[in-house]
Subunit: 554 residues, 2 copies
Amino acid sequence: MAKERLIYLPLGGAGEVGMNCYVYGYGPEGRERLIVVDLGVTFPDMDTTPGVGLILPDIEWLVERRDRIEAIFFTHAHEDHIGALGHLWESLRAPVHARAFTAGIGRIKLEECGIGPETVTTVSAWPETVRAGPFDVGMLPVSHSIPESSALVIDTPAGRILHTGDFKLDATPVVGDPFDRSLWKEVAASGVRALVCDSTNVLSPNPGRSEASIVREVEDLMSVSKGMVAATTFASNIARLKTLAEAGHKAGRSVVLLGRAMRRMVGAAKAAGVLERFPGVVAPEVAEDIPREHLLLLVTGSQGERRAASAKLSQGRYLGFELKEGDTFLFSSKTIPGNERDVIRIMNRFSERGVEVIGDATDNYHVSGHANRPDLEEMHALVDPEMVIPMHGEHRMLSSHARLAERGGRSAVVATNGAVVDISGSSPEVIERIEVGRTYLDGSVLVDSQAFIVRDRIRMALNGHVYVDVRIGNDGEKVGAWSETRGLAGTGRSGEPLDKVLDRALTRVLVREKQRVLADDEAVDTLVRSAARKTAMAEIGKKPEVTVAIDRDG
Amino acid sequence: MAKERLIYLPLGGAGEVGMNCYVYGYGPEGRERLIVVDLGVTFPDMDTTPGVGLILPDIEWLVERRDRIEAIFFTHAHEDHIGALGHLWESLRAPVHARAFTAGIGRIKLEECGIGPETVTTVSAWPETVRAGPFDVGMLPVSHSIPESSALVIDTPAGRILHTGDFKLDATPVVGDPFDRSLWKEVAASGVRALVCDSTNVLSPNPGRSEASIVREVEDLMSVSKGMVAATTFASNIARLKTLAEAGHKAGRSVVLLGRAMRRMVGAAKAAGVLERFPGVVAPEVAEDIPREHLLLLVTGSQGERRAASAKLSQGRYLGFELKEGDTFLFSSKTIPGNERDVIRIMNRFSERGVEVIGDATDNYHVSGHANRPDLEEMHALVDPEMVIPMHGEHRMLSSHARLAERGGRSAVVATNGAVVDISGSSPEVIERIEVGRTYLDGSVLVDSQAFIVRDRIRMALNGHVYVDVRIGNDGEKVGAWSETRGLAGTGRSGEPLDKVLDRALTRVLVREKQRVLADDEAVDTLVRSAARKTAMAEIGKKPEVTVAIDRDG
């Protein structure tokens, strides 16, 4: 009988922040039974993925082994952990398990893709467990920046795994239970084979601060501000919304929720019973009759998203509200790297309206949801696992986290997306590397990140596009080229229209060419593209993308 | 006789960080004699200016008044102050004045555009002055992050202006003279009408740190590191290069300069006599024989630029050097907002090679070149001007700076690019707003930022491009459409090739259309574009850019 083994395989989130997707397997080699932890997304950017809607994990490996997937578990409801559920579930069709708040969000995501709510089973917190093939999985509460975040206790025939999910050590998390050291100690007491652990903040040298630590500052801001206050944070950060709303309420302000995600998340939190008191919320229509100094708007768009409420407000009146001189706009959030320009744009628009903008440069109004370096050390010590597998982080974070664990006397491995790690032995061992790409949701189509589609769009953005219609008569006479340019200067060095210069140059090249070459589509394509790029380079200093169509008529 | 007036007009740098260009004028309204201060550039990004080479100020207003321009002055040699000189001088053709180091860089920029070195006159520091029409202009030394930075003392019949340029208050700047409070006090003693003042760091609440404050930390790093050390900073930060090189030298390391800008800047600094000792520099070929632990590479690319030495090194062997486990890469620099992704990409590439990366999160190895909020307050008090005009900064910075000045009892104005400010009276007054855009260097062509070229490129990047060749026979028969797509999914909902689906749908639309419509090119264009977008939306969920060419044959 083949030896059974326990494997760990990240398909997303390892070597990046975002798009979390991890696989565990147990069984004989090549016949392991599998569970999936999280199906997250990451967000496109203009530099590398212009026009893409969402970036999803490449789950081809899983799809090929669909019959071996026992279940899918979600640690929490952040987009980078659950955002791909609706788009990918149909390809996996395995039962889904999550705690109430997360399950609620998951059902909304499935419903948007036409999949019924019965797909998701709500699970209670540890000590309840779910049997999934050779695995017993429990949801161990942990503090983070969204309700009901859970680490997973994964019991296998080869021992216990603790998969932290995203977490911080927060004794006063405002919403939900404090981080419970004694419970964690108890869970770890029987021995933990592997601690698979969040690495996002490993480069932050100081201990993390509690969600409650900003309450006083927020209260001061709400009472000192003379006009309307608008504040933005991630809508899923229910604790932050509560802090903001309670501080506003204390300062005599009614609270208005602006933005779809804001209303949806508060609704989901109430439905799951994680948010009981949320003071003084009024509808936008009601707010019209309230003096501005008695208003607090909680708005979406902390990352400068162009269609979110914060962006709309920065441009003028939105749903009856208009910020002006004397009002305050608070970013109670950290700007994710890459979003700086968008956030700064909105800050300056508010500044132009005379609004006081309080940015993320100060830590007074925001705390992170992830464990910092000293907190990670504490976690390692608390769980005292045989090995540490850093997950969720860029390479430099995973690497720093692994060194931290090794300095603590524990074995560790830097395993990035696609690394199949055998964790059956005394130390983790990368036994295989599978090729994993990404999947783009582009319009309504899922496309492979390796396809040329997005590469071509980037090239057109950088270099412009020339379309050349080549006509070749059957007799080899009447050869000619007609060009249309897009995204290129109309005239260059010669002062003549670029398309005319191209037409003449390309026709000249074709006319001089041998019959044998003209008869060969591929040769004509290469010839015309090269000549078009050379001509454009001489004329305007750019080498455009060129698409050639060849017409052969009688 | 018309009343004479003194005006200030920012054409770049006011409402943004970068692309500095300011105009002062004195004389009767509409006949003011003009001087220009700085001709800087700003850098394109994929979000708003894909494929653009450089962004230059829109100087149309100046070109129309070319006969009234007395001179152009440069405060210092940073790209965002002098980078546009070569590209724009031909349109202005006014004499250029700068101190030796800046003049040297200016001459290189002109030479690259085929303009002779005699265009630039080297000026000594204050008390030397240059007569320029009604203006007397002196170069008052100030500390910054590049040699020989100068504020301008601009004497006019309406009083003295102090234009700070970029500055900090540094008593120990490593290269160049310490900030000379008594000299500034002396210059200001006779009264200053307007302090036109750098706003870049007004949002930083703590006093700025001296360049010398990082020496100890850098020395420790160089001696503790066991392998090769590579460090990057702006090549123009000669003081930082000196700090790094001296620390390396002290730790027994030979210094290698990698990257064209690095060699050019060190050469210019030596030529201008601002850098005397620069220890232990060896050529890359010589370094091959030196053990790696005795090497320090000073490399270009602190902002993650894709073609700079830091990027090359992160990808493997470059000019004989290859960083690996045990080596250290130091970012002795701040990441400019918007460059985070590029910098992080390089950090992770080094991490993958096992290199220890020290980022900009820590302030141990970098100090800013700009005056922080308390330093600005000190400058206001030192100069004690009648009015403060905040310059160089985003709107929120100018606005915060103006409030700071007003709280100090001085009048101030937020004047962004295009605001003509009369500073003849007791307080600054915006008397006109001229329309200013930007100019793009796109390939070898200067194009107006309002042109559709770049907009079209962005649209193709987001939406893809469909080219449709429409053929209409003269008799109205033989109507048809042939599509070519670029940057779009090949197949969508129907499973058929997208171009075939488009061909059929568009031909159907054309065939059904009335002769009158088919005879009208514009109507056909609108019809086809709309139908192509609708078809693509149904098929793949995207509305592409569409270019229509119409062929009418017999």
